[in-house]
C-alpha cells in the first residue's frame, strides 16, 4: 500500500474542490496525483491494497455532517442520505415495513461488521468484483487493457446476458432492490447543483463506456437515494444466492416489486443482479406476469421468460437455472 495524504472534508463543496479523480479515472488514467473521495472506505482500500490505484490523497466524506439519515413520508416516499450505513438501513423500521425487498437486500450484503461501516453511496458506486478486474496482474479492458480474460477464461461467476464486451457483473445487491423500486440517485456537483438520475440511467453498460460502471464523474458526488412511496397493494421480495450463505457476493439475485389487485398483478418490476454487467429489469417476465395471478405455474413461466435471452458463457450456464428458480420463488414469496 502506498503512502497518501488524508483530508477530512467538512462540507460537500470542500470535498468536490479537492477531488480530481473518481476511482475509475484513477484506474484508467493513472493515479499518481489523484485525490479520491471515500465514504466507508471498504472499496477504496481493496484497490489500494492490490496496487491497482495509488492515490496521493484520500478525501474522507464521512466527516461531512448531514449526509447520513433516513427520512420516510407516506406520500413523498423514502430518502436515504449517501453516508447512511447499510446497518442503519437494515435496522430502520419504516424500510422493513414499506420496502421489504430493500431491507432484505441490505441485510444480505457483506457481514454485520462491514455493514456497520459501508455506506449506501459507496455501495452503489462500487466497481465489479470480477477477479480479473480486481487483479493487478490482469490488464483487462476495464483497466485500459486490450482483452477480457473472462470471455475465454474463468467465467463461472460472470454475466449471462449482455456479455459480449465485458462479462463482469455489478457487485451491488442493494442496487437490485433499488432498481425494482424505481429509485433515483441524487447527484450533487460543484456550486451545490443537484440532479436526480433514475437508477436505470445511473449504471453504465460496458458497451457504452468500458471504463466506468456509473454516470458519476469527477467533481460529482452521490448525496442521497430517493425511492417513491409504494401503494398499499404493493408487495416485494428479494432473494440472493451466493456460493455461501454467509458473507458472499451474489451469483444471482432478484428483487420483485408487484402491485396487486387481489392475487392479480397490475404492475410488476422484476430486477436481476449479477445477470448482466449492470442490474437489469426483465421486461419479458414483467409483461408476462402482469394481468395474471401469481401461482406456481405463472411464476415458473415468468422465470423462463426472464432467461429467454440469456447467452451464457462456457462455465456459467448454471446461473440461467439459478435465475429461473429465484425469479419464480421471489414472485411466489411476494404474495
Amino acid at each position: 500500500m502506498n503512502k497518501f495524504k488524508w483530508f477530512n472534508a467538512q462540507n460537500i463543496e470542500e470535498a468536490l474542490e479537492r477531488t480530481n479523480a473518481t476511482v475509475s479515472d484513477a484506474i484508467n488514467r493513472g493515479s499518481a496525483d489523484s485525490a479520491i473521495i471515500k465514504s466507508g472506505g471498504i472499496e477504496l482500500l481493496d484497490f489500494i491494497k492490490e496496487g491497482i490505484i495509488e492515490p496521493a490523497e484520500i478525501i474522507n466524506i464521512k466527516s461531512i455532517p448531514g449526509l447520513e439519515g433516513i427520512a420516510f413520508d407516506r406520500t413523498a416516499g423514502l430518502r436515504i442520505g449517501a453516508n447512511t450505513t447499510l446497518a442503519d438501513i437494515e435496522n430502520n423500521g419504516d424500510i422493513k415495513l414499506q420496502y421489504l425487498a430493500l431491507h432484505q437486500a441490505v441485510s444480505k450484503a457483506a457481514t454485520p461488521q462491514l455493514r456497520n461501516v459501508s455506506t449506501l453511496g459507496g455501495n452503489i458506486a462500487q466497481r465489479t468484483r470480477c477477479w480479473y478486474f480486481r487483479s493487478i496482474d490482469h490488464p483487462c479492458f476495464r483497466k485500459g487493457g486490450t482483452t477480457c480474460f473472462a470471455q475465454n477464461g474463468e467465467n463461472q461467476m460472470h454475466a449471462i446476458m449482455n456479455n459480449g464486451t465485458c462479462c463482469s457483473v455489478h457487485a451491488s445487491s442493494v442496487a437490485t432492490a433499488l432498481l425494482a423500486y424505481g429509485a433515483t440517485v441524487e447527484i450533487t456537483s460543484r456550486g451545490g447543483q443537484k440532479k436526480d438520475v433514475s437508477i436505470d440511467d445511473f449504471f453504465v453498460n460496458p458497451f457504452t463506456d468500458i471504463r466506468r460502471e456509473s454516470v458519476l464523474r469527477r467533481g460529482e458526488i452521490i448525496t442521497a437515494v430517493n425511492i417513491p412511496a409504494q401503494g398499499k397493494n404493493v408487495k416485494s421480495w428479494y432473494i440472493k444466492q451466493g456460493e455461501r450463505a454467509s458473507f458472499d457476493w451474489a451469483l444471482a439475485d432478484v428483487a420483485v416489486v408487484v402491485e396487486l389487485s387481489g392475487k392479480r398483478v397490475r404492475k410488476a418490476a422484476i430486477a436481476m443482479g449479477a445477470a448482466s454487467p449492470v442490474p437489469v429489469r426483465s421486461k419479458a417476465a414483467e409483461e408476462f406476469i402482469t394481468g395474471k395471478d401469481i401461482n406456481a405455474t405463472t411464476a415458473a413461466e415468468a422465470g423462463q421468460k426472464a432467461m429467454e435471452n440469456a447467452t451464457p458463457l462456457a462455465k456459467n450456464g448454471y446461473k440461467v437455472d439459478l435465475f429461473k428458480t429465484i425469479v419464480k420463488r421471489a414472485l411466489l414469496e411476494s404474495v
Binding site: 500500500m1 502506498n2 503512502k3 481493496d46 457481514t111 468484483r129 477477479w131 480479473y132 480486481r134 487483479s135 496482474d137 490482469h138 480474460f149 475465454n152 477464461g153 474463468e154 463461472q156 444466492q241 456460493e243 455461501r244 450463505a245 454467509s246 458473507f247 458472499d248 451469483l251 462455465k315 456459467n316 450456464g317 448454471y318 437455472d321 439459478l322 428458480t325 429465484i326
Partner: protein, 771 residues
C-alpha cells in the same frame, strides 16, 4: 537395559477392556489406570494459554519487534516460466531506506533449498518465485524499493493445467529426474522414480496378491474416476520469520511446525553448529502441514540479516501466502473394486495422478491399501509437474483425496449389493475401534431413519451419509522433555516442541500435574524454544503421542529424585512415598505427609531437574490405525443446486484422550475443513496467464458461520498400551472422512452421484440433468 513388567489397561472400556502385561524399560513410570480414575488427564481442562490468546498478550512471530529490526520483502517472478538474463540492483542498493539487498541463488526456490550464490540466476519455474530481497526501514519502503530492481526475463512457454502437463510435447518443468525429501507432515515420497515428460512415477505402494485374479473371482466390479481440487492451507498467520544473524550464531522467531527442523536447516545453510542456532515459536497461528523448514523467505531473511547486521522480519502477505506457501495437490483417482456376493472385497486397483506444481507429494495415500480386508491390491500413483509453486503436506496428505474415492465407491458397492452402507462396513472392516464407533455414531446420529436415495418429495431434499477413515499411529522417538522443580514452589515442563494451536501446552501441563499429584494450573509450560530439549515436529499427528510420554516420564524421574531427598524427613524410605492432591504421602500411612510445596522448600538445591525421552512403543513399534467414522446429514436444493450441511456426528479414537475439550475442538476444525473441501474451496488458475486468480479471502471461499453445521463428537477411550500416557493425536484423523461423508449424503438426498470436488451448484444441476 533393565526391564520391568507393567500390567496395563488394554482395549475399549464398555466393549473389550482387559489388562495386558507389557515388558518396559525399568525407568518407565507405573501404568496409569483408565481415565475415570485420573484427576487431570482425560478431563476438559481449560487451555493454559486461553487468557493470553484472547487478551492479545500471546506474542506470535508477526508480533515480534527486535531493536533495530528491518523489514524484508521479496521481488517475485510475474511469469510462470522464464530465464533470467540479467538482474540490475544498482538503483535499489543506493536507496537510502534500504540496508541490504540479496539475490537468491540457484535451487533455493524449489523444495530442496540451498543457496549457491548467484553466478547463474535460477530458472523461473512459477509465478511468485522469489528472486531478489531487500531489507528496509519499514514495509512501505521495502515495497517501494523493489520497484527499482530491474530484471530482464526471457519468457518461456509454461503449463499449469494438470491434463495439459501430461500430454506429449508439453513444456517441460524439469529436464532430469528430481527427488525431494518428505517433509515432516506424514507424506511418503518414494525415491528413484523415473520421469517422462512431466510425469514422475509410478509409486506402487505395497501391492499384495493378484488383482487380475481377484477381479475374475468377483461377483461385482465397479470402476470410477474421482477428481479433487487444489486446496489451500489458509493459516490465519501467514508464513514468516524474524531472523537475527550474529557472527557467532542466529536467533530465529519462526511460525513453524518444527522448531528443530528450522534450526537444523538454518545451521546447515549458514555454516553454524546446531547449538549456535536458536529457534523460538512460542505461539503459532496454524500450519496444517505447510510450515516446515527454513523456507525461501526464511533463507532470504537470513541473508538480509547477515548483510545488514540487523534483525530482519519477513512475513508473507496473504497473496504471497496463497501463491507460494503450499497447497493440497489435486487428484484424478481411478479406482476399481471387486467384491463377492457376500460383500467381501476381492480386489482393489487404483491409479492416480495429480500435481504439486514444482513439488512432489500428489498421491492419494495408502487408505485404499490399508482400511479394508482385501487379499488383492495394486496401485500406481503419479506426480505431474506443472509451472506452479510447490504443494505441501496438508492435514492427512493423500488420505483425504484417497478417502473421497474409496468411501464413495464402497458406498456404491454396498448399494449394488443391496446392503446398508453401515452394515456393509461390518462385513469388510476388521477394526474393533471403528466397529464401536459405527454403533455409537449410528445411534447418536439416528442412522436408522435414513431413507432410500432421492426419495424425499419436493425440490428440497435431505440425505444421510457416512464415511470412515484410517490414519497410522505415527510416533517421533527423538522427543524429549525436561521437568524442573524449584524451591519456591514452581514446577516447569520444558521442551522444544511447538504448540500449533492444538493445545500441546495444556496436555503437557496435565500429564505432569497428574504424575505429581498437582493441578494443571500449578504447572508452568515453556516450549517452542530449541534451547530446551528437542521435541517432535508437529506433523503426522505425532505430537501428543510423542511428547506427552516424555513429559510424564520426566515428571516421574523428578519425583523420584525429590522422594530421595525428603524420605528421611518423613521417617521412611523413598519407595514408600506417593503423591496426591498436592501432598506427598507415606503409602498406607496417610497421616504421615508433607505438602508438595513444603517438600520443594526442603530441596538440597534451588532447582531439581529430570529429563526423559519417548521410549519405543511398549510391545514393539506398530502403526496400526486410528480410526474414525463420520455421519453427515445434508439438504440439497435441486432447483438451485445448493447444498447445506445440517449435521455431522463424528466418532473418533486417539488412544487415551488427554483433554476432551481440546480434542473436540480439533475434531470441529477437521470437520469444518472437510465441509469446506467438499463444497467450497478450490484454487482457480487462469490458463491464459498461469496466474492464480482467487488469491484472497474475498475470492477464495472458506466457510463462515452459516456454513457450520451442528457437530456432535464421540471420543472413544481406547487403550493400546504402548506408552506411559497411551495418547495419540487427532489433528489429521479429524479431517479425512468428512468430505466423502457429505458427498455420500448428497447422493442419498438426490439419488445421483457426484464424482468431483468441490460439489458446486453447477455440478449438482449438471448431474441432475444428466441423470
Amino acid at each position: 537395559m533393565d526391564k520391568k513388567t507393567l500390567i496395563m489397561p488394554f482395549g475399549i472400556p464398555g466393549h473389550n477392556l482387559t489388562q495386558i502385561e507389557r515388558e518396559v524399560p525399568a525407568d518407565e513410570p507405573p501404568a496409569w489406570p483408565v481415565n475415570a480414575e485420573l484427576k487431570e488427564v482425560g478431563k476438559s481442562v481449560k487451555r493454559v494459554d486461553a487468557r493470553a490468546k484472547v487478551t492479545g498478550q500471546a506474542k506470535y512471530t508477526s508480533d515480534i519487534q527486535l531493536p533495530g529490526m528491518l523489514y524484508g520483502k521479496m521481488l517475485r517472478s510475474p511469469y510462470p516460466h522464464a530465464r533470467i538474463r540479467n538482474i540490475d540492483t544498482r538503483q535499489v542498493e543506493r536507496h537510502p531506506g534500504v540496508l541490504a539487498v540479496h539475490i537468491l541463488g540457484k535451487d533455493i526456490s524449489m523444495a530442496g533449498s540451498k543457496d549457491e550464490s548467484a553466478d547463474n540466476y535460477p530458472e523461473v519455474k512459477y509465478i511468485g518465485q522469489p528472486i531478489v530481497g531487500v531489507a528496509a526501514l519499514n514495509d512501505n519502503t521495502a515495497i517501494e524499493a523493489l520497484k527499482l530492481v530491474k530484471i530482464d526475463y526471457e519468457v518461456l512457454p509454461f503449463v499449469v493445467d494438470l491434463e495439459k502437463a501430461r500430454m506429449e510435447g508439453a513444456p517441460l518443468v524439469f529436464e532430469a529426474p528430481v527427488e525431494k525429501e518428505a517433509s515432516d507432515g506424514g507424506e511418503e515420497i518414494e525415491k528413484g522414480l523415473s520421469l517422462s515428460g512431466n510425469v514422475r512415477g509410478p509409486s506402487r505402494g505395497q501391492p499384495r496378491g493378484d488383482t487380475q485374479k481377484g477381479f475374475a473371482e468377483s461377483d461385482i466390479v465397479i470402476e470410477r474416476t474421482y477428481v479433487t481440487q487444489v486446496h489451500m492451507h489458509n493459516p490465519l498467520e501467514t508464513h514468516g520469520v524474524v531472523v537475527d544473524w550474529k557472527p557467532d550464531g542466529m536467533l530465529i522467531y519462526a511460525s513453524t511446525q518444527s522448531t528443530k527442523g528450522v534450526r537444523d536447516e538454518f545451521a546447515q545453510l549458514f555454516g553454524f553448529r546446531k547449538s549456535q542456532v536458536r529457534v523460538i515459536t512460542e505461539y503459532m497461528g496454524g500450519g496444517f502441514g505447510a510450515k516446515y523448514g527454513a523456507g525461501n523467505f526464511g533463507v532470504m531473511a537470513g541473508h538480509l540479516s547477515r548483510k545488514s547486521g540487523r534483525p530482519v522480519r519477513l512475513m508473507l502477505d496473504r497473496k504471497e501466502e496463497q501463491l507460494t506457501a503450499g497447497f493440497r495437490p489435486n487428484s484424478v483417482h481411478q479406482l476399481k473394486i471387486g467384491a463377492k456376493k457376500d460383500g467381501k472385497l476381492s480386489a482393489i486397483q487404483q491409479r492416480s495422478y495429480g500435481t504439486a506444481g514444482v513439488g512432489l507429494g500428489a498421491g492419494v495415500g495408502s487408505i485404499a491399501q490399508n482400511m479394508y480386508e482385501c487379499p488383492n491390491f495394486a496401485t500406481e500413483q503419479y506426480d505431474i509437474f506443472t509451472h506452479f509453486s510447490p504443494g505441501a503436506a496438508w492435514r492427512a496428505p493423500g488420505a483425504v483425496q484417497g478417502a473421497f474415492g474409496l468411501e464413495s465407491l464402497i458406498d456404491e458397492i454396498a448399494e449394488s449389493l443391496n446392503i446398508d452402507p453401515l452394515k456393509y462396513r461390518d462385513i469388510i472392516d476388521k477394526s474393533e475401534v471403528r466397529k464401536v464407533e459405527r454403533q455409537k455414531g449410528a445411534e447418536l446420529f439416528g442412522w436408522s431413519k435414513r431413507k432410500k436415495a432421492g426419495s424425499d418429495p419436493g425440490p428440497v431434499k435431505k440425505g444421510m451419509g457416512l464415511a470412515q477413515s484410517s490414519w497410522p499411529r505415527f510416533t517421533h522417538l527423538d522427543s524429549t522433555a525436561e521437568v524442573r522443580l524449584f524451591r519456591d514452589g514452581a514446577v516447569e515442563v520444558r521442551s522444544g516442541v511447538q504448540d500449533l494451536g492444538t493445545g500441546t501446552k495444556t496436555i503437557l501441563a496435565q500429564v505432569v500435574a497428574e504424575e505429581l499429584g498437582l493441578k494443571t494450573e500449578d504447572i508452568t509450560v515453556r516450549i517452542g524454544d530449541t534451547l530446551f530439549p528437542d521435541g517432535p515436529p508437529s506433523g503426522g499427528s505425532v505430537t501428543a503421542g510423542s511428547i506427552t510420554p516424555a513429559a510424564r516420564n520426566a515428571a516421574y524421574q523428578a519425583k523420584l529424585k525429590l522422594f530421595r531427598q525428603i524420605a528421611s524427613k518423613l521417617d521412611t524410605t523413598p519407595d514408600k512415598l506417593m503423591t496426591a492432591d498436592g501432598k506427598i504421602y507415606v503409602t498406607g500411612e496417610p497421616s504421615k505427609n508433607i505438602s508438595f510445596a513444603d517438600a520443594l522448600k526442603q530441596m538440597r538445591t534451588e532447582q531439581l531437574t529430570a529429563e526423559a525421552s519417548r521410549s519405543d512403543d511398549y510391545g514393539g513399534m506398530s502403526r496400526d490405525d486410528l480410526g474414525s467414522v463420520q455421519f453427515a446429514e445434508v439438504t440439497v436444493d435441486t432447483e438451485t443446486g445448493f447444498v447445506k450441511v445440517d449435521r455431522i456426528v463424528a466418532a473418533h479414537s486417539c488412544g487415551r484422550p488427554l483433554n476432551i475439550a481440546q480434542i473436540e475442538s480439533q475434531i470441529n476444525g477437521g470437520i469444518i475443513h472437510g465441509i469446506s473441501y467438499a463444497l467450497y474451496e478450490s484454487r482457480v488458475i487462469d490458463d491464459q496467464t498461469g496466474q492464480m486468480i482467487n488469491v484472497n479471502f474475498d475470492q477464495y471461499k472458506i466457510p463462515y458461520a452459516f456454513e457450520i453445521p451442528d457437530i456432535r463428537t464421540i471420543i472413544l477411550e481406547e487403550y493400546p498400551a504402548k506408552s506411559s500416557t497411551d495418547a495419540y493425536g487427532i489433528g489429521e484423523p479429524a479431517n479425512i472422512a468428512t468430505a466423502v461423508a457429505v458427498t455420500n449424503a448428497i447422493y442419498n438426498a438426490i439419488g445421483v452421484r457426484i464424482f468431483e470436488l468441490p460439489v458446486t451448484p453447477a455440478k449438482i444441476l449438471d448431474a441432475l440433468k444428466r441423470a
